[in-house]
């Protein structure tokens, strides 16, 4: 039996704020809508930036992508701060439990040394790449236009930092501080890592926020995550008995599956906006993904040896299929 409690009933004057009623009608707005749409200043900007007087304080012209309405780039996850934080707190719980599990049962020490070294050699230098990703997403958030497009980028940036920190913990767990030092030395000097480091540094001098989005979130991460965390960790290492490593990188695997839905949605809407946008995106994705693939090849070789070439080729084909679904052909 249902019991309806009686409360004093009064008639609201309106359901939502004017700017949301104009977009969605006068009906109760979701918290995502309230916290995202039109909350960035749009008009009557007072001063030109002293750091670049050719720009406006919030400027749609600093990217080649043209949108009639930047708020069209909706995040299908509808993340605002609260839903984002709650989602990551849950994943953090799982990751913590995984680390405790591996640590408390001494699974790290039981890894065959060769596999452990492979895991360390492939994964730990990537904490620097993740830091590059953090800076790139922070830039998109800072200079991109409209909270619907930019707020997921600060969440993404914090995720990138979290991933860099999980990789650091993995390094400490499997190889102590020496593993971190060795990985940093490899990132700086080992020829295997130089194409990737160069790629990352080349993205750090980009200033078109949407190109940064493509170079980092679409091209590099679109190849790196499935290749490293899917093929190398979940398939190759696990098959040989190093599934403990996969437990330590579960966050990254789950994270990529979740975030690529957002990345794809942004591409799809931006490409559908105009042929010009589609052409720009096509060029960027083609150029950056080709570079990313060749930069990742030597990294894949650390684990996969002679099979790396085929593996990267397959990942690239998979990547093309994925991008095709957003209406962009490369």
């Amino acid at each position: 039996m249902q019991i309806d409690l009686r409360t004093v009933s009064i008639q609201p004057l309106r359901q939502t704020f004017d700017h949301l009623a104009r977009r969605f009608g006068d009906k109760p707005a979701s918290r995502y809508q309230e916290g995202s749409y039109d909350i960035q200043a749009a008009e009557n900007l007072h001063y030109k930036p002293t750091w670049d007087p050719d720009q406006d304080l919030y400027d749609t012209k600093i990217t080649k992508i043209v949108m009639k309405d930047w708020y069209a780039l909706k995040d299908p996850r509808q993340f605002y701060y609260s839903t984002y934080t709650l989602a990551r707190a849950r994943q953090q719980d799982t990751t913590e439990a995984n680390f405790v599990f591996v640590e408390s049962r001494g699974l790290a020490d039981m890894l065959p040394p060769a596999l452990r070294d492979t895991a360390l050699n492939v994964l730990v230098p990537l904490r620097h790449a993740a830091w590059g990703a953090n800076q790139n997403n922070t830039l998109i958030c800072g200079y991109g236009y409209g909270a619907v497009f930019t707020q997921p980028c600060i969440y993404h940036a914090m995720d990138n930092l979290g991933i860099a920190q999980y990789l650091s913990r993995l390094g400490l767990l499997l190889g102590d501080t020496e593993a971190l030092d060795a990985a940093k030395a490899a990132w700086l000097d080992d020829p295997v890592w130089q194409p990737l480091r160069r790629y990352v540094e080349d993205t750090l001098v980009l200033r078109d926020p949407f190109e940064v989005f493509v170079a980092q979130n679409v091209a590099l991460d679109g190849l790196l995550y499935p290749l490293v965390y899917g093929r190398i960790v979940d398939d190759f290492l696990s098959a040989q008995g190093a599934s403990a490593v996969a437990m330590l990188t579960q966050f990254m695997t789950d994270w990529f599956d979740e975030t690529k839905k957002w990345v794809d949605a942004v591409l799809k809407v931006a490409a559908a906006e105009s042929d010009d946008n589609r052409a720009v995106l096509q060029d960027w994705i083609a150029a950056w993904s080709a570079r990313a693939a060749s930069a990742l090849l030597p990294v894949a070789e650390i684990a996969l040896g002679a099979n790396a070439d085929a593996a990267v080729g397959e990942e690239l084909a998979g990547f093309r299929t994925r991008i095709q679904k957003t209406g962009i052909t490369i």
Binding site: L13, E43, W131, T138, C141, A147, G175, V205
Partner: protein, 505 residues
């Protein structure tokens, strides 16, 4: 590599270093200048970014965990508040004006701070600094969103909230806060940190945040006070960051001192003017008052601020230039601004009102040297006119200060009977100011402040001085959002609904 039998135990500080600073590297394919192009043009010299002391050591896993707990509590409470008509528990409908000021002027500022901290979180060439700024960037969007969510329910039942996004960009009194944040964001990364990270978050935050949130608590506003409690630990982190930042700049090079001092002078005065709106809220808009603006200034300005500047004296920092003028203005500003709001209340998306006898008794007790002498007679005159059915309205457009954008309604620091008005001619054009402080700010960067968007000239240029058109343009609904609280729709509804909730008639 050989596995050691026992792992080194890293201390907290060392562990945090490994988790953050060690992630960065010296670029090899591009110069630092290419990657961080805005780090040097302001003239701040940094020799060693590693000397930066991390103000708090929070890794992302801990951040997610703590913040999620706070989020769960916050939304549980505001859901209950909405479900149970919590808005009927406020002391009086007049209180809503304080919330309207907050949503129109302050919440957009939180969002601007979010964008600004994202930018500096990318532009500083030190990892420790970047991470600290990024955490503040994500906190600030939290604050913007939780404020909108907390006040969303009020918008459903009361006027003046519905067009906050339009009012942010177009409403004349909101340009005070908007131009403040635009000013900070158009500055370089170091000045931004002094403006928002230090002056606003450290020196002035207690004068903004504490009065608003205590005001909410005193006036039965569960939604807003919950936001306040929830944001408190974030604010503590932000204050630590602001303080670390100024100390870092001062310790890195003696040449930084005059630059930092100049910014402190500027941002103290800019912030003090923005707080003018807070002073009015404290002295006039809270039905149950927490303390007077004067008392808040004594505690948070004179005592806390004084101690802070004493602490910074070892670096050669002196109290900000406008400090004495601020002290002199403290007994006048809330009255002057409320009188301004009242006479222009046809053009505000919030209600103002004539203080009652009881209010005036309180004001004269709190302002024994000024209220009865200068302001009571004006209110009594206005009240007399109102009794004769003539609401005191000033349809003449306010002259706005080119710097702070408040109407020029203040008096000379040393003579409360003389209106204070300054002007400067720059490139053949005349500019008006409300004070010496604002004139100095302008004269230090005239090329910046001549760009200011001033709402009054715009009204003439674009809308041909047509008040009705202007109201449409700012989404102000005449007879609903504006005017005296007495006789307003808000008053009628609040009293009727409260009657439903508290009596059987």
């Amino acid at each position: 590599m050989d596995m050691k039998a026992t792992k080194k135990k890293l201390g907290l500080k060392e562990k945090y270093r490994v988790m953050t600073r060690d992630l960065g590297w010296e670029p090899g394919y591009h110069t630092k200048e290419e990657i961080f192009p805005y780090a040097t043009y302001e003239g701040i010299k940094v020799h060693d970014w590693d000397k930066w002391e991390d103000p708090f050591r929070l890794t992302m896993d801990a951040y997610w965990k703590y913040q999620a707990e706070k989020e769960r509590k916050f939304y549980a409470i505001i859901d209950a508040h909405a479900q149970n008509n919590g808005h009927l528990n406020i002391t009086d409908g007049r209180y809503l004006s304080a919330l309207k000021v907050f949503l129109q002027a302050i919440s957009p500022g939180e969002y601007a701070a979010h964008k600004g901290f994202s930018r500096v979180g990318r532009e500083f060439p030190g990892v420790g600094t970047q991470v600290a700024c990024q955490m503040q960037a994500i906190d600030e969007i939290r604050h913007a969103q939780t404020q909108i969510h907390a006040l969303s329910n009020y918008n459903k039942y009361y006027n003046g909230f519905h067009a906050f996004a339009d009012a942010r960009d177009r409403m004349w009194y909101n340009t005070v806060a908007r131009s403040f944040f635009d000013d900070a964001m158009s500055a370089g990364p170091f000045e931004f940190m002094i403006a928002i990270g230090f002056s606003f978050e450290y020196v002035l935050t207690n004068l903004l945040f504490v009065p608003f949130m205590s005001g909410a608590a005193y006036n039965g506003d569960m939604a807003t006070v919950t936001f306040g409690f929830s944001a408190q630990s974030d604010e503590a982190r932000h204050m630590t960051l602001g303080l670390e930042c100024i100390k870092f700049m001062l310790e890195q090079d003696p040449d930084n001192l005059p630059i930092v001092q100049g910014w402190l002078d500027k941002w103290f005065w800019r912030g003090f003017r923005v707080l003018g709106l807070v002073s009015t809220m404290m002295d006039y808009m809270l039905p149950k008052r927490v303390m007077s603006w004067r008392e808040a200034w004594e505690i948070y300005g004179v005592e806390n601020g004084g101690a802070l500047f004493k602490d910074l004296a070892r670096y050669g920092i002196r109290p900000p230039k406008g400090w004495d003028d601020a002290e002199k203005a403290t007994d006048h500003m809330s009255h002057q601004i409320m009188l301004g709001l009242y006479q222009w209340s046809f053009g505000t998306s919030l209600h103002s009102w004539i203080p009652s006898d009881e209010d005036m008794a309180w004001l004269s007790a709190k302002y024994p040297t000024t209220f009865d002498k200068y302001y009571r007679p004006r209110w009594e005159h206005i009240r007399k006119l109102a009794a004769e059915g003539k609401q005191f309205k000033n349809f003449g457009l306010a002259k706005l200060c080119q710097t702070c954008q408040l109407p020029i309604v203040f008096t000379e620091p040393d003579d409360p009977t003389m209106a204070c008005h300054r002007e400067t001619t720059y490139k053949g054009e005349k500019y008006h100011f409300c004070s010496d402080g604002c004139q100095h700010v302008f004269e230090n960067e005239p090329e910046k402040y001549i760009q200011a968007w001033l709402p009054m000239p715009a009204l003439f240029a674009e809308l041909e001085g047509d008040i009705g058109k202007w109201m449409d343009w700012v989404s102000l609904r005449d007879g609903q959002d504006n005017g005296d609280y007495v006789g307003s729709v808000d008053q009628r509804n609040f009293e009727q609904w409260r009657g439903l909730a508290t009596s059987n008639s």
